[in-house]
Symmetry: C2
Subunit: 154 residues, 2 copies
């Protein structure tokens, strides 16, 4: 698997975190960065984002609130929250409600991020492939049914 093809969006209100993140992982993934929820929404509207990592503590809305806000319009990207140990109960709750897929606690280490992103990407691709295969199978079965009905009529 060529990890470079993983489109990863990282959201954090602290610009130096965004720069550090990009510097650490630019060789591993295609990285998009956003300083705010509105910036992030614009990026996911315009790009095929596979995995989103968001900081939990941001000034306008939290990471969980952001993930909740995109659930209906953008259900596909795998949502990973980066959070401090103090928020764990809220995070578990958000995972159980399906808003967050996984969480990473701070301070994260680079290898954990790589493993989390790769496995999240596999889930993303498997879900997408499943949907495509199901679609193709419906089309093929529809054709077979049509032909079976035709041969019954003739």
């Amino acid at each position: 698997m060529n990890d470079k093809k993983i489109n990863l969006l990282y959201i954090d209100d602290e610009p130096h975190n965004l720069i550090a993140f990009k510097a650490a992982f630019r060789r591993d993934f295609n990285i998009f960065i956003a300083e705010s929820a509105s910036e992030a929404r614009k990026i996911i509207d315009e790009n095929d984002i596979h995995v989103i990592l968001s900081d939990q503590r941001m000034p306008v809305i939290t990471g969980i609130e952001f993930f909740e806000s995109i659930l209906e319009t953008h259900p596909e990207p795998i949502r990973i929250l980066i959070t401090g140990y103090t928020d764990i109960n809220a995070v578990i709750d958000a995972i159980n409600r399906g808003q967050v897929y996984k969480y990473l606690t701070k301070p994260w280490n680079e290898n954990d991020i790589r493993i989390f992103v790769r496995t999240a990407h596999e889930v993303f691709m498997l879900r997408r492939e499943n949907a495509e295969l199901t679609q193709k199978l419906m089309v093929a079965n529809g054709k077979l049914e049509f032909l079976a009905r035709q041969s019954l009529l003739s």
Copy 2:
């Protein structure tokens, strides 16, 4: 999703860990336990195990060695290693070589185990569904091709 349907095998050479694990998660998953690699192999031969959690430090073979030994005969179950911080480099290496899917560090907490097992189970099911859908699609396409060839001949 009914988590009770997740068939989870936990391997640890310390019997009291096995008992504690089973007590903690018996309401969440169908739990199988094994005190050794040979016991574990017997269980995966006889049951449809979805997720395997193994302790890394065991007297005869390590968790990584166990996972490596079942890769060819039982590639399907998702393999999660439980390990101390001291073994991390060996673990990262094992993940990169595909022997281990994820790792959890000790001391683990119950919520982490639940999240890890559920997401591992989703990957297991998605991979299995993908294989089944691909198989069904091949059959359907084979039939369509056969019918197309027949109608060309007639």
